[in-house]
């Protein structure tokens, strides 16, 4: 059972979450706002899954910005290990310390000395736990890391503590707001999922996507934004290899704006399709289905 004394909620209500995220430029829907609120209130890590480019990382950045917390990021990749994620002893410095010791120094003293804070290199997980200021810990693309890393995360995420054999157990004095993201390229372990609140981020509704485009690219005329969103949704309905994400919708709006195009017609759509569809076969297919050509 988590120790509630270290949990210091940042948000007053679901509406508060929505408003403050909105202030940070992130338009949250009901599900997002509620889940963020609960993660904050219950002090549980938040696991966000969903296709690439729907704003998983953006969400944690927005939470950090709106709670004036520092964001610590652990980018996962194949081969990530304890030394890169948690902590590492500074071998070189330890060695220098031993060589610099005078002959009459007792080994005991030296031994205690070289395994102290001074020689510890804190990696993201440990730094996040030791901080006393508000912190957002983003563990990005967990699915890219090896299964062993999940085991490592279990201790950190369930008890918010790290055990270093030479120093003892370091517990969080202030629990960080933890966000894990995954593109679901592999199934995460049940144990990890059990410890997290889960949020599946998918492509937004037409209404919300339009609002996102308008807030990110304020110069774009509303009519054009609507056309873009509708077209992107038509594209997503096709069987494409890589459906366009929100990021690509925004890019498309920016591109059309930069080219001085104010209505999306056949010609301009074909000319700029590369912004939203990144596979040749997808483009061919879209042109075929929307009878562009």
């Amino acid at each position: 059972m988590p120790d509630s004394s270290t949990v210091q909620p940042q948000f007053a209500s679901v509406a508060d979450v929505r408003e403050r995220l909105g202030g940070a430029g992130y338009l949250a829907d009901d599900a997002i706002a509620t889940t963020v609120f609960l993660a904050d209130r219950l002090g549980k890590p938040l696991l966000i899954e969903g296709p690439a480019g729907v704003g998983k990382t953006e969400l944690s950045k927005a939470v950090a910005a709106t709670t004036s917390a520092e964001m610590i990021r652990l980018q996962c990749y194949e081969g990530l290990d304890e030394a890169r994620a948690l902590y590492e002893w500074n071998y070189k410095k330890q060695l220098l310390r031993i060589q610099a010791a005078r002959a009459d120094d007792a080994w005991e003293a030296t031994h205690d000395d070289i395994f102290s804070e001074e020689f510890l290199l804190a990696r993201p997980l440990l730094s996040a736990i030791r901080r006393t200021e508000p912190t957002v810990l983003l563990i990005d693309e967990v699915d890219k890391a090896d299964v062993e890393v999940e085991g490592l995360l279990l201790e950190v995420l369930s008890d918010f503590q790290v055990t270093i054999p030479e120093l003892g157990t370091i517990a969080a004095s202030r629990r960080p707001f933890v966000v894990l993201t995954s593109n679901a390229s592999r199934e995460l372990s049940e144990a990890l999922k059990r410890r997290c609140l889960y949020l599946h981020l998918d492509y937004p509704t037409a209404e919300r996507e339009k609002a996102i485009v308008l807030s990110r690219v304020p110069e774009v005329p509303e009519k054009l934004a609507e056309q873009i969103v509708r077209t992107v949704r038509a594209l997503r309905a096709m069987e494409l290899k890589k459906a366009p994400s929100i990021a690509e919708t925004i890019d498309w709006a920016t591109t059309l704006l930069a080219l001085g195009i104010d209505t999306l017609d056949e010609e301009s759509a074909v000319a700029t399709l590369g912004v939203v569809l990144k596979h040749v076969s997808d483009q061919v297919r879209a042109i075929g289905e929307l009878k562009l050509s």
């Binding site: 009901d30 609960l38 071998y91 998918d202 929307l290």
Partner: protein, 469 residues
């Protein structure tokens, strides 16, 4: 309890009971909700505004539904156990359509038209409810309610509104095909929402009349990873495709990897000594030469005959996904003779087109178009024997139903013997193996492993079992 939402009418104790019953229903439907997650859900309910139904849904989902594939089941159960309100849809205290306004079909369609045109989701929902309310007002004989949805949608006939909607969305001026296509998509999406709302509302009303249990059994669809490949509907197949891609990647890497990636090669003596200079000549860290990356080689041999056509569709999905991930994948298809189909699945072709070309262009039929494993294996060995080397993993997909023909066991034994591994995925239930014209039993002992693979769940299990050798 005829009016007022569940949350409004029940005390906290009642809500807890409701939540537990709901979680029990989730478990019955196949979602593994642990006790810890139940506790989380309860704590979550304690922190949010219970009058906000979408918040309630999000809170329960966050704590109990942790796979996107389970979400469909979760939502239909949530709608059953936490309905928007009980009793008649037109509760007076609601901002609902005014009472009997919908009685007049024309006026009703006018409202519907407007809601669809504006894409106003709340209005669409209100209208769907009012329509169901209207339709159920008459004396529907028990057991006939299931027809209501069909009848209602037929009477309202929203498709008839499409031309009008198109005109409204596109405006009167000139418009291109492109704009029309996009507009059509938009309209279809809204019509789909209408149909879904109607179904949900009918289900809710039925649940009230007959009790939750009866409706739960009939409305909750099986989880997508339990859907039988041979009985998958079109919707299921679209969903399956999304599931297959990550699996194909895992399958290919399991079949082809020799060592774990992070295992290191031989000691690099020179670089170890160099590195030790920084630590006063003490080699604290050894440096190793990187291993040569192992080139994956995979040969997929799949039955695409009529008896397994649904499975074949899945098989081709898998092949196409594998082709995208790995260059050294060769795919062969057979019905009663065998041909290479690798060329149809270059990384940039789309799947539907490729499937069409396999059927049209590949040379798969020799005699009568019924499965003939014996002849297919023979042809494979004659024409493509060089595809299989000691580094190859051979993956065969098929039901082994051979129409009582020669089973080609000798050829398969030679092929499997030459390959590093040979696995067979069979879409038939295990108890049917070896019955009738199934030559499964003969093949079973010739390959390393033959596994029943009827749904995504079993495929995942098979992949998990394949440890990197």
């Amino acid at each position: 309890m005829t009016t007022g939402g569940v949350a409004r009418a029940t005390a906290r104790g009642g809500l807890l009971d409701r939540e537990l019953v709901f979680i029990a229903a989730l478990r019955r439907a196949g979602l593994a909700v642990s006790s810890a997650e139940t506790v989380d859900a309860t704590r979550a309910l304690g922190s949010i505004d219970l009058l906000d139904r979408e918040s309630l849904r999000a809170a329960l989902a966050a704590a109990t539904c942790k796979r996107p594939t389970h979400r469909r089941t979760f939502d239909s159960l949530f709608d059953l156990y936490f309905p928007r309100r009980m009793g008649a849809a037109a509760a007076p205290d609601d901002n609902d359509e005014d009472g009997d306004g919908a009685a007049d079909l024309d006026a009703f369609r006018e409202q519907l038209l407007q809601a669809l045109r504006d894409g106003d989701e709340d209005a669409i929902r209100r209208i769907a409810r009012a329509a169901v309310e209207q339709a159920m007002r008459g004396d529907t004989p028990p057991g006939m309610q299931a027809w209501l949805g069909h009848r209602l949608m037929r009477d309202v006939n929203p498709e008839a509104l499409i031309p009008q909607l198109l005109r409204d969305l596109l405006g009167n001026g000139e418009h291109s095909d492109f704009e029309e296509r996009v507009a059509r998509q938009t309209i279809n999406e809204r019509l789909r929402q209408l149909a879904e709302e109607v179904t949900a509302e009918i289900r809710r009303r039925l649940a009230e009349e007959r009790g939750l249990g009866a409706v739960e059994r009939s409305t909750v669809k099986p989880l997508i990873d339990q859907v039988d490949f041979l009985r998958a509907s079109r919707d299921d197949l679209a969903e399956l495709r999304r599931q297959v891609y990550p699996l194909a990647r895992r399958l290919a890497s399991r079949l082809t990897s020799r060592k774990k990636v992070d295992e290191q090669g031989r000691l690099d003596f020179r670089r170890t000594v160099r590195a030790s200079l920084a630590t006063g000549g003490v080699p604290l860290q050894t440096v190793h030469k990187p291993r040569k990356p192992h080139k994956p080689e995979l040969v997929v041999l799949c039955d695409v005959s009529g008896s397994v056509s649904a499975f074949a569709l899945f098989t081709l999905m898998l092949v196409s996904a594998l082709r995208e991930q790995f260059s050294k994948v060769r795919a062969f298809a057979f019905i009663d003779t065998c041909d290479e189909i690798t060329r149809f699945f270059t990384p940039d072709t789309d799947l539907t087109g490729a499937m069409g070309r396999v059927v049209r262009e590949a040379d798969l039929v020799w005699f009568d178009g019924h499965s003939d494993y014996g002849h297919s294996f023979k042809v494979f060995e004659e024409r493509f024997a060089d595809a299989i080397t000691p580094k190859t993993s051979l993956l065969i997909l098929g039901d082994g139903r051979n129409n009582y023909r020669a089973n080609g066991g000798d050829e398969l034994r030679r092929l499997a013997g030459r390959a590093r591994h040979a696995y067979w995925l069979n879409p038939e239930p295990k108890y049917e193996w070896g019955h009738g014209d199934s030559a499964t039993r003969a093949y079973e002992e010739l390959v390393d492993d033959m596994v029943e693979c009827r749904n995504i769940h079993q495929l995942t299990e098979f992949i998990t079992r394949l440890l990197p050798v």
